[in-house]
Amino acid sequence: MDRETTLRVSVWRGTDTGRFVDYEVPRRESQTVLDVITYIQRRLDASLAYRFACRVGMCGSCAMTVNGVPRWTCRTHVAKVERNDTLQIGPLRNLSVIKDLAVDMGEFFDKMQRAGATFEPADKGRADFAVVGPESPPRRLVDAAIECIGCGVCYSACEVVAWNRDYLGPAALNRAWSLVNDVRAGGNPARLRAVAGDAGCHSCHSHQSCRQWCPKNLNPTASISGLKRAVTRAAIKGTL
């Protein structure tokens, strides 16, 4: 790669109100968007606020909006997303901005709790390990939803979250679905009540933006559809 090439980068500065500020960053081979942000913060403007931890796509803390699309920046190569050697990097949508690229994730994790995201064993007195066959249907449903890293990309991509501030969002509902299918988990009647109605699974329009941008290739829309079926069964049985 030509080492003289530079990247023109517009970065959001401010809180919920602010503006994009332009920087020039040298292009590097295999450069990630997080590398670009780190270069700006360490070489050009030390006051830039952003968040990251693992740098390898495990922790879910570095998600930002890159050229209008929510992405995990540590695993997003510049070559994949730049347009004419330019990048626009902003904070995640649908969450209030603390400073620059760091958003307040409190609302996101509060909604996880409201959706019943905490595992509680059904049999608290159980001394032995629960045997869950890896090929059993409930386990396969859990497998499809379990790899969420809580990055907030789906929450940022979701149009329904933007329209309905009470909506729990794809990640919280996906987590609830993984617990509904966990044969060891208790509290599912309360969990189904928590995810029902206008704030829950029934508001999903199945636009599938969550599925399109999830960096782990999960399908929260399918999980939400599963919750709709489970809640419908509970309503018919009278246990909702």
């Binding site: 329904v160 329209w163 309905n164 009540r193 029902a196 109605g197 206008d198 704030a199 829950g200 029934h202 508001s203 709709k228 809640v231 419908t232 309503a235 909702l240």
Partner: protein, 115 residues
């Protein structure tokens, strides 16, 4: 409105959508058949009057429309306007009654109950 009621409304909207898929298809096919077959308006009305099968069909059609449309409009109002849930619920209640009254009046009129 409780999450339980909202869940039943969601289920009612899906069930009414299934009914509408059938009733609208039958309605449109019959409409095209009647017009292409050269039936006049008077001949169509004459066939509808006193016909219990068509009466039942259109009562189901109107009932499904009266359930389906207000629930969908309620969602649109809540997501796209600053209206409170209470106001949206009230407006959709009015819409339900309007569709039901206007629709059933037309259906029973064609059947012959009101001349």
């Amino acid at each position: 409105m409780s999450a339980r009621v909202q869940t039943w409304m969601w289920m009612a909207q899906r069930a009414s959508a299934a009914l509408l898929a059938v009733t609208i298809t039958v309605h449109l096919i019959t409409l095209i058949y009647a017009v292409r077959g050269g039936l006049s308006a008077a001949e169509i009305i004459a066939r509808l009057q006193g016909n219990v099968a068509w009466l039942c069909f259109y009562v189901i059609f109107i009932g499904a429309a009266a359930v389906h449309a207000p629930i969908g409009v309620r969602t649109i109002l809540l997501e796209s306007t600053p209206l409170s849930p209470r106001v949206a619920d009230a407006l959709c209640g009015v819409l339900l009654i309007t569709i039901l009254v206007a629709g059933l009046r037309a259906v029973f009129g064609l059947y012959g109950f009101s001349g």
